[in-house]
Amino acid sequence: MNLMAIKVIYLNEMMRFWKTLFQSVASPVISTALYFVVFGSAIGSRIENIDGVSYGLFIVPGLTMLSVLTQSISNASFGIFFPKFTGTIYELLSAPVSFYETLIGYVGAASTKSLILATIILVTASLFVELNIAHPFWMLGFLVLTCISFSLFGFIIGLWADNFEKLQIIPLLIITPLVFLGGSFYSISMLPPLWQKVTLFNPVLYLVSGFRWSFFEISDVGVGLSLLMVLLFLSVCIAIIAWMFNTGYKLKQ
């Protein structure tokens, strides 16, 4: 195992984060604050409490998940796509580094960035609402699993994409709608019965629901089911990666 290589890949990826530290911190702080102004205060004041939780508080887990999902995918996919695009991938391919070591370096860095991002969002949110986390351990568990699975998913997209359009299309056309329609900003009990059924096919619902449960002990689906779905998604991503590795998919000519 080339631990040194994993370390330098990881640190190299993290370096970009530190280099643009101001932007990395300021943009989630600003967007979280905007969400609270718009949804928490302006609109939220007209919305009833949901299962005894004020709307401003209710959206915190969904808002965090929204950012974590999109950022995990975009960080990990850009991370591996960019060297392919600029040609610097030659160095990774000609170094004594295995596919899995590369994967751990990139996905590890992308997950770390997402965790930092989630922390920033939760801290900012706590300035607007009084945030009590019922099950901090579960909260962290859901968060870490989500960061890792969606960074893996992003890595897959980055490997698969051979142009910028492909890189953007899945997050734009699939992930963003799924997140918005997955109960990030509402409880599915607010939907008509038919749409409630349809929403059950949206995997993001299970993530958000489980994550929200760890804060307020309220959920749309059972927390065990949520955990199962996260683990299932993680396994699917790992299986795809293993298949890509075994077939040398798209990395080598």
């Binding site: 080339n2 290589a5 330098v8 600029t86 040609g87 030659y90 000609s94 170094a95």
Partner: protein, 307 residues
């Protein structure tokens, strides 16, 4: 001599169906400098990329230091440094961070003293903290060399190291190559220029259309294939070549302003000084003269004709 790289029946067919390497066999000796000559699209980069692990071979085997490049890829790649043909570098990295990254990728322990010396040898030390995008093309090429040498490789591949490089850097480059050679590093370089191969290499391999046409000690190659042409511009046009020069293979251009004498370097009966004497005695008024060496393309034409 000990062989360090052994290529057996290597072929590469790209996904497009294009056959870029056709059954290549080559032994590269420890410590030698071998130049791969060939026109655009010959398969030089493909050959190098396959040995380094960037391109998967379609068939055949390659061993480096006795290890297979696929089953023992860690051992073979640790021995190899690669300077790619294209200037591929992260624009926003600094010189220092990028060479430390390279060294780490190869699993070598941090050694700042070695890397600093390397930068000094490549006249890059004062650019240590510059971002890559702020460097000139020639400096970027040096950075690529520094990256390739960052883990003390035993084998160095230089893919067209002198493309777009000025005379100064070219000299520096040969200095570095000679220093590495004296340390026992094996060097494989590709080039389009026969003079370059002549200047630096011990052996020369000629590739065309994915085939390794021949590999020879460079002296042999030049002797057997190098043709030269003596071209003389005249001050006044002449109608025909003076009879005293008839015995030589001398041609006159249509406008009568230029004569040229073609000879094969290895031919021992050819005496260039005799020819020059005869020309000056013939009463022709000379304006200028130059010697043109047969180009690689000419050599290919000859080689392919022979086959």
């Amino acid at each position: 001599m000990d062989s360090i790289i052994s290529i057996k029946d290597l072929s590469k067919i790209y996904n497009t169906g294009f056959e870029a390497l056709k059954n290549v066999n080559l032994e590269i000796n420890k410590g030698e400098i071998i130049a791969l000559l060939g026109p655009n699209g010959a398969g030089k980069t493909t050959l190098i990329s396959t040995i380094c692990g960037i391109v998967s071979p379609s068939s055949g085997t390659v061993t480096v230091g006795g290890f297979d490049i696929i089953s023992d890829f860690r051992k073979t790649r640790e021995m190899i440094g690669l300077v790619p043909q294209e200037l591929t570098l992260g624009a926003f990295d600094t010189v220092w961070s990028t060479i430390r990254f390279s060294r780490g990728l190869f699993g070598s322990k941090r050694d700042d003293a070695y890397l600093e010396q390397l930068l000094k040898d490549l006249s890059l030390y004062d650019k240590k903290d510059s971002e890559i995008r702020a460097l000139s093309g020639g400096m970027k090429r040096r950075v690529l060399i520094a990256k390739a040498l960052s883990h003390n490789p035993k084998v160095l591949f230089l893919d067209e190291p002198t493309a777009g490089v000025d005379v100064e850097l070219r000299k520096d480059m040969w200095k570095i190559v000679n220093k590495l050679r004296s340390q026992g590093v094996t060097i494989i370089l590709t080039t389009h220029y026969i003079e370059e191969a002549e200047e630096i290499a011990d052996r020369v391999g000629v590739i065309n259309n994915g085939e390794l046409l021949l590999v020879e000690q460079k002296e042999h190659l030049m002797e057997s294939l190098g043709k030269k042409q003596l071209v003389i511009d005249l001050k006044e046009s002449v109608k025909k070549i003076p009879p005293s020069l008839d015995k030589y293979n001398i041609e006159l251009t249509d406008d009568g302003m230029q004569i040229s004498y073609t000879y094969v370097v290895k031919d021992e009966e050819v005496e260039i000084s005799d020819v020059l004497n005869e020309i000056s005695n013939s009463g022709l008024l000379l304006k200028d003269l130059k010697i043109v060496q047969s180009s690689l393309e000419d050599i290919f034409v000859d080689l392919v004709k022979e086959k």
